[in-house]
Amino acid sequence: MDVSASVALATPRPRRGVALLPLGLALLAAAMLAGVLLGPARVTASGLFAALLDALGLAELPVEHARDAAVLGVVRAPRVLLGALIGSGLGAAGAAMQGLFRNPLADPGLIGVSAGAALAAVAAIVFGGSLFGATAGLVGLWMLPLAAFAGGLGATLLMARLGTVGGVTSVATLLLAGVAVNALAGALTGLLIFMADDRQVRDITFWTLGSLAGARWAQVPVVLLLVGIPSLMLCALARPFNALLLGEAEAFHLGTRVESVKRFAIVLAAIAVAAGVAFTGLIGFVGLVVPHLVRLGFGSDHRLVLPGAALLGGALLVLADLLARSLAAPAELPVGVVTALLGAPFFLWLLRRRAAGGAG
């Protein structure tokens, strides 16, 4: 066997991983391009060309292409950008939580963010009342996302506080606190659903299935700030997460400030997921499985797993959204349903293949 190859593979950057980041970037770019170009509202090549010229300020938009430009620029572009950012956030946060909890079944739901966001969103739907009609004003447009974001972050901070004793955040206590916070939020959500009327219950159901249909340009800077930046910061924590692969004590022995890393990672993941969920509703599967897909293909080095999960998560959500708006057109499938339908069988296939090929 080739020893020097194995050594090179371990330091400073695994060789098989070199391909991952360009590959992931290319995949994300391709998914985004497809997301903008394809969909139930057909856009002609000349319409695309005209819209591009207009976007670049090179030519006035001819009136006959105004619809194409609106579909590309108003409906699809913010939707694809939001999907890429939010998918990246879910992927990176999922990888971070799995690394932090050293558990392949961990996902952002574990730190209470989904349950907290859902509770607040349901409260907004039930108590927001008339603000959610078709005539909702600015308050109605931002109330639900704001509530969901605050609820998700609040639940996580509450849980982190409960899980920290004497300045030390114990993962085991954190997990139990998470179970308690999730159960409490779930119970309160149930109480609100009991109070909700039939229409609100259906609103709640659709919210929990996720959708990018409400994506608007006004949301892009918010998501860039609250999802994009925390995701990048999580990727910058790759080395401490690598140290945690050995265990918390070993990570400390390797010079990691374990407590700071834990708290920092939990807050960053909570911000990224809560902000994403705030605009789309719950989107399952991406945070749980995308990191595994990266690991199965490229190993456990977080320098690859974190950015890889971000890129793949973004690509997956953009593609899932493309399918969500195309498959049932002119209606739309909930995107959370598509991510699960798309990813779960693929994941199972990978697992089976790995099992057949011997332990990894």
Binding site: T11, L254, A359
Partner: protein, 254 residues
């Protein structure tokens, strides 16, 4: 190198360590022995900086251990724990490469590959480099951890310390002896080695000095000849000992 002064550690109301004073010197192997629950692992964790003393102090190179930044400390001190379970699969060389994490951002990071290769070969696991960690035996994993610790200390800017918690526990006689020989060799090269051991004969074989813990206290500290005497050990372990042909063993009835 590392000096404990009246080191006391409590867990709630229970005292895990009480007033321990000892020094670990560069170039020596210091073995820590004692009955189960005597506080051996606690001592190792306190000397590594993982536990803060409730009373007394631990000095590293004449400076309070707490004043060392984790990264600077990690470049001078490595720890091999009893059991390491990986969160996600890696090959052995990747595990060893994790030892280079504290060097990230320093000029010495340029020697990462050399450090990993050297450590793999010094710990005798070069042929395992490409093996998935999950397929290694307990002994092989232990040696991979030693290699990881050596990679971590490679290029240390001054005397370095290696602390090991019962590294021979899962090794057979041959591999155990090989590991102890490796520790001796490392000490000869100037490393300060502290090793928690269960087997008194291993301690006698490898150590320059032996520290005996009993009931949270340091009861003896000296050369193996001074410390590992049947009469003293009998008091510590509460059963009679005898030395037969240079081997220390409990004197069982019958």
């Amino acid at each position: 190198m590392i000096a404990a002064e009246g080191l006391t550690i409590r867990a709630g109301r229970r005292r895990l360590l009480c007033g321990v004073t000892l020094q670990l010197l560069p170039g020596e192997v210091l073995a820590v022995v004692g009955p189960n629950g005597a506080g051996k692992s606690t001592l190792l964790r306190a000397l590594s900086g993982e536990l803060r003393p409730d009373a007394g102090a631990v000095m590293f190179e004449g400076q309070d251990l707490a004043s060392w930044s984790p990264a600077a400390l990690a470049r001078r001190r490595a720890v091999v724990s009893q059991h390491v379970a990986l969160a996600f699969p890696m090959v052995a060389a990747e595990v060893v490469a994790l030892g280079r994490l504290p060097w990230h951002g320093t000029p010495a990071a340029a020697q990462d590959e050399a450090a990993v290769a050297e450590a793999l070969s010094a710990a005798g696991v070069l042929r395992l480099a490409g093996q998935p960690h999950g397929t290694l035996s307990g002994g092989e994993r232990q040696r991979v951890q030693v290699a990881r610790a050596l990679a971590q200390l490679h290029g240390a800017p001054g005397p370095a310390a290696l602390l090991l918690d019962e590294p021979t526990a899962s090794l057979d006689v041959k591999h155990g002896a090989a590991l102890l020989a490796l520790l001796r060799r490392l000490a000869r090269q100037g490393l300060a080695v502290l090793v928690v051991l269960h087997d008194l004969n291993e301690a006698a074989f490898v150590a320059d000095r032996v520290a005996v813990l009993a009931d949270s206290r340091l009861v003896m500290f000296g050369t193996p000849q001074e410390v590992l005497r049947p009469a003293l050990l009998g008091d510590v372990y509460g059963i009679p000992f005898r030395a037969t042909g240079g081997v220390l063993a409990p004197a069982f009835a019958g």
